[in-house]
Structures are given as C-alpha cells and as structure tokens.
Symmetry: C2
Subunit: 691 residues, 2 copies
C-alpha cells in the first residue's frame, strides 16, 4: 500500500532529521569545565531516575500485558488475546524508547545551550529548539511508525486489524500515566523542597549551589516536563490514529482502505510541516526579534503548511470532499485558539494575572483566593471553544453528504468530521513538542549558567530564554488539554464500535437518564477529583523527604558557608525513591477503579463514566494548569519590581501562590490529560469485561 | 381530599409550634443594656440588608414573572402562562417570607442565648435551638402549605395540576439563588475585611469592639448562614415535592391520587417527627452531656420517628408496598451517612484535618496544598454513597413490581423508588434546619458576650456552643449537598415528562454519545466552575470596599485607642451595597446562560447540561464546603495549643488557610447547591423554549 510506504518513509525521514539535529547539538561548544560539571550532575540524576522509573514501569507493564492476555484467553478470544497483549507491549516499549531518547538529548542540549548563551542568544535558541525537536520528531515518528508496523504485521485487513491494534494505544497511555505522574511528583517535590528550606528557611537564592536539592530540582525539569509530556503526546497521537482508523472502518463502503489509512497519511504530512517549521527558526531570526517571536514564526509556518498538506491529503484520499478539509481546518484553528487563550490567562499584562498581582498586596490569603478564582474562570472560554469546534466539525462532516448503511443503522459523516478535526489539531504536534522541550532545556541552561558563576550578561540573556520557555510550556499544556478533549470523542465512538462488535448489537445510545448510567457518570467525575487529590498529596509527601534531607545537610555549617559542596546525589536519590513510591497509589487507582466500575455497572454506564470523566478531567486540568501558570507569572511580574519587587510583602504572598500552583500545574494538571486518555484506551481494550 | 386536609393541618400546627417557640424565646431574659446595645446594632444591620436585598430581588422576580408569562403567551399557551407566572410569584413570596421570619427571630434569639449563657449553658442551647426551630419549622411548613394551597387553587386535577405548579419551585429557587449569593458574599466580605485589617494589620483580636467591621461580620452570620441556607432548603423541599408529584402522575394508573399526594403527606409526617425531636432537646439533657450530644439525640429521635411515620404513609397511600418503605429508609440512611462523612472530613482528630494541621508547620503554601488535596478527596465517599443510594432505591422501586403502560412505553417503579428515597432524606429537613440556624445564633451570642465584656466563664461557655454550632453548620451543608444530588434525579425526570407532554413524543433518552448533547454536558460542567469563580471573585471585590473603610476609620487614633466607638453603620452599609451589586453578575449568569444553551442546542442537550452540571456542581460543592470546613477546624485545633498555638508560625499559616476557605465554604459552595436546583426548576418551567 502506497499509504503505508509513505508513512513509514516520512517517519524514517523524521528520525533521520532528529539524528541530524542531535548531531548538531552534540557538536556544539560544551562551555567551561565548571558548566560541564553541573550538567554532568543533572545528567546522572536524570538518567538514574529514568533507569529506575522505567524498570518499575516495565515490570508493571508486563503484569498488565499478562492480565490482558488472561482476560481475553478466558473469554475465549485467543487471537484478540495475543494480538492485544503484544500490541500493548510494543506501544509501551516505543513510548518508553521515545521518552528515553528525548531525555538523553535534553540533558545534553542544556549544556550546549548554556554555553551558547554566553555569546549569542540566537544560537542558544536554535540549539535548545533543535534539542527539543529531537524529542518532538522522535515521539511523533515512533508513534506513527509503530502504528504502521503493527497494522502491517497484524495482517493489514482494513476491516479487522484496526481493532487488533488498540492495545498499542493502551500501552502508550499506561507508560504516559506513570511517566507523567512519577516525573511530575519528582519535579515538584524537589522544587518545593528546595524552595521551602533553601529560600524560606535558609534565605539563600534559587539555584544556589549550596542548596543540596538544587540538582534534584534541575533534574526534575527534565523528567517531568520533558519525559512526562513527551509520553503524554506520544499516546495522544497513537490513540487518535487508532481511534480514527476504527471510525474509518465504519466508513469503508465510502472510502475503502483510504478512509482507514487517512489518519496515518495526515500525520505524516504534519511531520513534514513540523520539520520545515523547525528549520525556519534560525540563529539570525532569533537574534533580530524576541526569542518568543522566532518560535512563533516557526509555529505559524508549521500551521499554514499543515493546512495546505491537509488539503492535499483530503484531495487524494477522501475524494476531494472539501468539507473534510474544512473540518481539519477547524482543528488547526482550535489549536491556535488554545495558544492565545492560554497566553491571555497566564501571561501578565492581562486582567487575570494582574488581578492576582493586585491581590498579593493584601497577603497570601487574597493571593490564593484570586488565583483560584482565575483558575476556575479559565474553564469558560476553552470549553466554549471546544464546544464550537465539536459542533462545527460535526456539521462539516454532515455537509460532506456521506452516509453508510451499517448493520446497526445509518451512519452519517458527522462523527468523521470531528475525527478529522482532531487530526487537524494534532498535525502540528511535533512542532509543539519541540517548543515544549525547549522549556526545560533553557530552564536547565539557566541553572547551569547561574551555578557556574558566569557573567551577569549571560545570566540576563538566558533569563529571557527561560521566560520564553515558561510560555511555551504553558502553551503546550493548553494544547495537550485541547487535543485530549477533541480526541476523546473519537475514542468514545471507537469504544462503542468495539462493544457493538462484541455483542453484535447496535450501541449508539448512552442514556444519562438511566440510573446506573448516571451513577457511572457521577463516579467518573469523582475519579477526576480523587485522582488529583492523590497526585497533589504525593507531591507533599515526597517533598517532606526532601525537606528533611536538606535540613540535615544544612546542619553542617560548612555547607551553608559554601566551603564544602553539599551531597547532591543524596537528594536526587531520595526524590527518586519517593516519587516512584508515591506514584503507585494514584496510578493504581486510575487503572483499577474504572475497571471495577465497568465490571459492576456494565458497558453503557462505563461509556458515561468515560465521557463525564473526560469533561470533568479536561475542565479541572484547565483549572490546575492555568491557575498554576497565572500564580507563577504573578510572582514573576512582582519580581520585575512591581509593589516593591523581591523581598516585599507582596512578593512573599506571591511566592506562596507560586508554590501552591507548582503541584497543580506540573503534577496534577498534566496527569489529568493522561488520565482522560488512559480511561479511553483502557475501556477500549477491556470492553469485553463490561458486557 | 383527606390528604390535603392533613398536610394543611400539620403545616398550621407546625406554624403554631413555631409561634410558641418564638414566644418562649422573646420572653427569655434579655441580659445587660450593653448586650442589648450590641444586639440592637446587629439587628438593625441585618434588617437593613434584608430590606434592601429583598426589594432588589422582588423587582428581579417581577421581571422574570413577566418574562415567563410573555414566553408562554407567545407560544400560545395562555393557561400555562398565567398559572406558571402566578405560581412563580407565590413561591418567591413564601420563600422570602420564610427567610424574613427566620432572620427576625435569629437576631433576637442571639441576645437571649447570650444572656442565658452567663448562667446556664443548657438554657442557652434550648433557646438557640428553638430560635433555629422557628426558622426550620416555618420554612418547611410554608413550603408544604404553599404547594398544598396552589395545588388546590389550580384545580387539584391529579393529572394536570402538578405541571401547572412548577412555577412555585422556580420562584423558590430564584429567591434562594440571590439570597444565598447576596448573603454569602456579605458574610464573607465582612469577615475577610474585618480579619485582614483588624487581626493582621492592626493586631487586635477577633470580635474586638474597636473594629468597625465587627458588627457587619456578625450581621453576615445571620444573612448568610441563616437566611441563605433557609431559602436553599425551602426550595429543596418545594422542588422535591413538585417533582415527586409529577412522577406520581405517571403512576396514576397504579396508585391514583394517592401516588400524587404521597410526597405531601410524607413531608407532613416528617414535620411532626421534627417537632418531637426538638422537644427532646431539653435544658437538663443539654446540661448533662455535651451540647453536640444533646443536639444529636434530637436528630436521632427525629430520624427514627421519620422512619416509622414513613412506614405509616407507605401503608396508607402506597398499598403497603414494603419496597417503597425500604426506598425511603435508604434516603434516611443516606442523610445519616452524610452527617458522619462530613464530620470525618471536617473535624479534627481524623486524618484529613490532621494532615492540614501538620502541613501548617511548613508554612501557608503547604497548608493550602494539603487543604485543597483534602477538599478534592472529600468527593470520593459521598459520591459513592450517593451512587449506592440511587442504585439501591432504584432497585427497591423495581422490586415493588409496579409497572404502568404509558403512551410512551412501559414505566417501572424504579424511578419512583429514587423519588421516595429523596422524600426519606428530606423528612428530617426541619430538624436539620433548626440545627443549622442554631449555628449563627450561638455564633452571634458569642460575639455579644465578647463585645459586652462579660465574665471569662460566660465566654468559655458560649465558646463551647459556638464550636457545636460550627459543626452543625458543616453538617447541614453536607445534608444540603446530599439532598440536592438525590433530588436532582427526580427533577430530571419531571423535566423529561414535561418535554414529552409538550411534544407529545416519548423523551426517555439523553444520548451523551450525540455531539450536541455532549457539548451541552460540557457547557453545564463549565458553568459550575465559572459560576464559582464569579462568586469567589465577588467576595474579593466586596471585601476590598470593607478593607478601605476600616483602614479609613483606623486612621483616626481615637478608634484604635477605644475611646470613641467606630462607625459600625458605615461598614454595614458599604458591605450591603457591595454584596447586592456583586451578586448580580453570577446570578444573571446562572439564570441566563442555561436558557441560552437550551435555546440553541435544544431539549436533549439541555437535559445533559442539567445532569452533568448537577454532577459537577455537587462534587465541587463538596470540595468547597469540606475543604473550607477542614481549614477552619485545622486553625481551631492549632488554637487549642498545638504547634505553639495562637501567634505561632503554624497558626499564621493556618489563618491563611482559614481565610481562603471562607468564600469557599460560605459563598461559592452553598451557592452551588442552589445553582444545581435552580437549573432544574428553570429547565422544567421553560421547557417549551427548548423544543
């Protein structure tokens, strides 16, 4: 099939480009020995964490694979049993591999970017973005390659195979859950611990080399933001591909194999657009304007190219039915809208953050109150935008005039319209991921510059990049939430198709007016709150270990005097152990509770569980991500000198808000995106349990 | 009809008992002139607020009544138009009347309770509870009387009239929304304003007479906790009655008029149980044990009697079908469960509050993080309890063996089982309300004792009552959330019956798998967050006015020296104006946004909007109420001497948490209960707009 050759070919090209970028990064100047020493410590810590984390996750994954196999073996569906278990392992493996590659380059790009920042900000931007692009391209390409390979390996029967590969998505989301939870707990426990003892108790600045937790904090940026979010979007693209392929099966009478493979081709085209977009960001373009301006330019180019390529794909594979191009455009526009909405709510100079800044004048209590009000408020415009996008793309699908007689009734093109909007939204994923990983790389570079005592000018230069990195991290989270919401619908319908396949009866209605279904919905919404509670609490508990270790080390006067280096490795080790231990409870809840509910209340209630958990999860993720981002930037704005600047009462209040926001925006919020998608893939794979 | 005579008779008896209690309270000792002076100031402030608030609300209500009339007049249903508009006005009037009577006695009982506390704690308990019972009995009796009267006045056709009286419930919830919002904003703006300037900036104690906002703070307890929650439960009982009557219409072939009037009789029996329960709490019983023990004894007696009476009602009106008695028992048990669950999460000595206490050691940030984790966590057990209660009562209904052929298909007794569980839960409403209003009365009494410089012993005595009052207030909120969740199902089905009535077609399916319906659900969940944001922000904005006024007064040195009394009236006036102005935006959103969504997306999407808003609203209300309560008690626990007691760093951190929790638990949380029920009654009344 030419479509499969094309996707495999593009994936390999993308991997080659990633290798080229990695080579360029590794060839760049590595700075002073002092810088290398700091970077080395970060690298060691990050790699130690990833090693231990992935060995834990790998064991869990094997257990789950065996369970999947056992369930379907007992049910008597041996073919489904081994296909799904294998696909699960393959998905988990590729997701882990992509995460490890991304981390590997990020902990090396930080040093090169720091070294470049001493001389030339533009070069630092390019190195950090290309370092991030290694991660972004690898993730999207491996996800695409994985789906293509497994589709081919499992027989490439356009009507059967899409159902056999759903385990791939489950494997990816299983890894994503633990990667995001473990990484998120790690990064914020280290951050909160370092700040509470270092800044508040000992009164030393952030990133001060005397703080024993400072390396753990820098390690955290890599394992949380970089590896965690990478796994998140790996599974987004994988699950979306599979869900859309299943919908394509239903439309087989209209488009044939083209409808099934369209998602893969659209993603491949998106990869090409992203590669070009990354090349657009050059040293000179980053030097002439602001760093953020240069990154945005690349993003716009990617979006426009993605739209054009989308048109080509529709022309080629979907009989040039222009309405599907419009549906894709809706998705691309939604991703742009989310970027602007997130900026409005989390950047200073706009009402929301300014209100938090003002409330800081009357102390921490009013800072927190106004921050939470902002967080709650940020659900409104995104929810309306998602609603409009869903309705508009559904309407485009209806306008396409497609309709298919299925054994269960007539299927219109409406749902396929929403599926195509999701593909449009995810078309720019590789570029977005590159921008996202840019964040922790320049954040780390800033830490390296500060800890190795470089010139003030270099510090200023890197601080500007760090600010841009904070913005890109916030934007990516908005994008991840938006795509989770949009792609959810795709996965609902895949689940319902799966159930209909198993029972041989139509399953097109999830009747919320039925009592068991309503109870399912209630429990789904509840899971979102409980999961968030456990994730937040895990940060608190892990931070306590860090706090105790830092306090213990500070008791030795030579540490605070700066004459002897603190034992960084001890903090790194404690945080690693704590994060891995504390990720188990929320992780187990996220996997086990839905299975229990589905088993007791059956498949229709399970669908409502999934749908309402998605709604609540998306909204609460917005609250946590944007609230946290707004607190962070309110503090940063005061640090520019507003209301007395650093050290003022307003600043102290803002620091409290920032600390509260940390586990919100970097642990619970991002874990919720993953939870929502994990729920979808679990129900899809385990549908037989709920009949 | 004997059933109507019975309910009217019991309602009148309950009103007579309320009058007797009022007489007893008014006859009691009024204490020293100094105490009377303080009480007088509270009374004036509260009455001024209520006067202004209810004139504002009355105008809004007239506008809405005209709109309702106009809508149905244009649709061409003149009979429905004037019936509904009249019922709306009548419901609004009675709710307002009940609120005013409750407030009138509360601001008088506080003085008598304070006077009694100088000598005898038991007498103070009895006076405060009977003062609260005036409110509780009046609210439930007027609601019951109102529904009975309007049912009779509108023709008492068992098949038609229930649909004509739905306006009564909408009127009640309209008042409840603004009463709870306005009162909630008032009470917390005054509280936060008084604390921030008084305690934090000037360093004077709480309830210090030198603080200009201290009277406004005491007024707030009455207008928020007493009038607000009263209106909340007035509408609960009214809406539940009407919803259950509509369900009774569907079961007419089985039970005849008895099924329609069962809800009224069950409520009347509940009133008798509550009256006996209140008489059980005597001076000597309150003196021998703890105040809370005496109140609990009354509650248990009420619950047991309610169960017995319920059995009688089922035997009499529902053909002695024992399964409906079991369903009622499920409701009574759920209300007991909610009381214990709320206690566990918000009282110290249990893990949740203790975790906040421990986190206070490391400062305000960790206090807030652990408080929010606790708040999120508190959704779990209540949601599971609600889920089990819904399923169990539904199952009881199915076991009843009832089934009816309707034009739209076969109707089983399942839904009627959930309706009866709701009646069981609300059977104890009058007693619960008496306990609730006990809270602000003893809180005020404490303020009066402190401000008039009474003996330390009297202060200690009243402090114990105040602690019991805090507990009863928390329990009532739990009860209100639980009953909102349970009764919601009743109102959904009433709405769906109403739509079927209008369209003449079956409407039994709310298909969440349809795109517009899913978008409706998404927007419903979003409204809950946005509404909470606006309510919380309204407190912040109103508090700013209070802060400015207190600061202005403190500039005059004679105020802080205590030689000249501050201008209490100015603070009261400013808070009144601020609260009334700031309640408009969230209130208007709550009324207008659902209408807009329903108009655009139509009735099925509207049903999903309503259902998912209910789920999210109930869960977020639990988060806000219990989180706020836990913070409050964490602070109180530290004040008993834990971790250095008052003035320690841990205490300062806990004060921040308490302040953050204030607008959560007393403004946004309680307003959410009302929002959920308002949504149900609005959709019910305006169903014709969504066709």
């Amino acid at each position: 099939m030419i479509q499969i050759y094309l996707t495999v070919g593009v994936s390999l090209v993308a991997l080659a480009v990633a290798a080229l970028f990695a080579y360029q990064v590794l060839q760049a100047d590595r700075g002073t020995p002092k810088m290398q020493e700091v970077s080395e410590a970060i690298k060691e810590g990050a790699e130690a964490f990833i090693r231990r984390q992935y060995s834990t996750i790998a064991m869990l994954a094997v257990v789950v694979a065996i369970l999947i196999f056992a369930v379907y073996f007992i049910v008597g569906d041996t073919s489904y049993a081994w296909h799904t278990a294998l696909a699960f392992i393959f998905g988990a493996f590729l997701s882990g591999l992509a995460g490890i590659i991304g981390m590997w380059i990020a902990v090396r790009a930080n040093l090169r970017s720091a070294a470049a920042a001493r001389i030339n900000a533009g070069k630092a931007v390019v190195l950090a973005l290309r370092g991030g692009a290694v991660s972004g391209l690898t993730i999207v390409a491996l996800s695409l390659l994985g789906v293509s390979i497994i589709f081919t390996a499992f027989g490439s029967d356009p009507l059967e195979t899409p159902f056999l590969i759903v385990g791939f998505g489950f494997g990816a989301s299983f890894i994503a859950l633990f990667a995001q939870l473990g990484g998120g707990i790690y990064t914020k426990a280290a951050d909160v611990g370092a700040d509470l003892v270092g800044k508040v108790e000992a009164g030393i600045p952030e990133d001060d080399p005397r703080n024993p937790a400072v390396i753990a904090d820098l390690v955290g940026d890599n394992v949380g933001d970089c590896a965690g979010r990478g796994a998140d979007l790996f599974e987004s693209t994988a699950a979306e591909n599979i869900g859309a392929m299943i919908l394509g099966v239903a439309l087989f009478p209209v488009f044939g194999i083209n409808g099934v493979l369209f998602p893969l081709v659209a993603r491949a085209f998106g990869l090409i657009a992203a590669i070009i977009g990354i090349f657009v960001v050059t040293e000179s373009s980053a030097n002439t304007g602001s760093p953020m301006g240069a990154l945005n330019r690349g993003y716009y180019v990617t979006s426009i190219l993605a739209a054009i390529f989308f048109y080509v794909a529709v022309w080629w594979l979907l009989d040039n039915n222009i309405w599907f191009f419009y549906a894709g455009l809706v998705g691309i526009l939604l991703s742009l809208a989310f970027v602007y909405i997130t900026l409005y709510y989390t950047d200073y100079g706009h009402r929301p953050v300014d209100s938090i800044v003002n409330a800081s004048k009357t102390g921490p209590a009013t800072n927190i109150i106004s921050g939470i009000a902002v967080g709650f408020e940020t659900t409104a415009v995104p929810a309306i935008a998602i609603g409009i996008a869903l309705l508009a793309s559904y309407w485009c699908g209806l306008q396409s005039g497609i309709s298919v007689e299925t054994p269960f009734g007539v299927l219109s093109g409406g749902l396929y319209g929403t599926a195509i909007a999701t593909m449009g939204m995810l078309a720019t994923a590789a570029y977005i991921l590159a921008m996202d990983t840019f964040g922790p790389i320049v954040d780390n570079a800033g830490g390296i510059v500060e800890m190795s005592g470089e010139s003030e000018e270099a510090e200023k230069r890197i601080a500007r990049l760090d600010a841009a990195g904070n913005t890109t991290k916030a934007l990516t989270k908005g994008y991840a939430v938006g795509s989770a919401a949009l792609s959810a619908f795709l996965l609902f319908s895949a689940y319902m198709d799966q159930v209909a396949n198993i029972t041989g009866q139509a399953f097109a209605v999830v009747n919320l007016a039925s009592v068991p279904v309503f109870v399912g919905a209630l429990l789904g919404a509840m899971l979102v709150f409980l999961f968030s509670a456990l994730a937040i609490r895990a940060v608190g508990e892990t931070a306590q270990y860090v706090i105790q270790d830092v306090r213990r080390q500070f008791k030795d006067p030579v540490i605070l005097a700066g004459t002897v280096k603190p034992d960084y490795a001890s903090c790194v080790d404690i945080t690693t152990k704590g994060a891995l231990r504390n990720m188990v409870l929320p992780g187990a809840l996220a996997v086990a509770f839905p299975i229990f509910v589905g088993f007791v209340l059956k498949y229709e209630a399970m669908a409502a569980f999934l749908m309402v958990a998605t709604i609540t999860g998306v909204l609460l993720a917005l609250v946590l991500n944007n609230g946290g981002g707004a607190w962070d930037n309110a503090k940063k704005f005061i640090e520019t000198g507003q209301f007395g600047g650093k050290g003022s009462e307003a600043h102290k209040a803002a620091v409290v808000g920032d600390t509260v926001g940390d586990p919100f925006k970097d642990t619970a919020g991002p874990s919720l995106h993953v939870l929502v998608k994990l729920l979808a893939t679990t129900t899809l794979v385990l549908a037989a349990l709920y009949i």
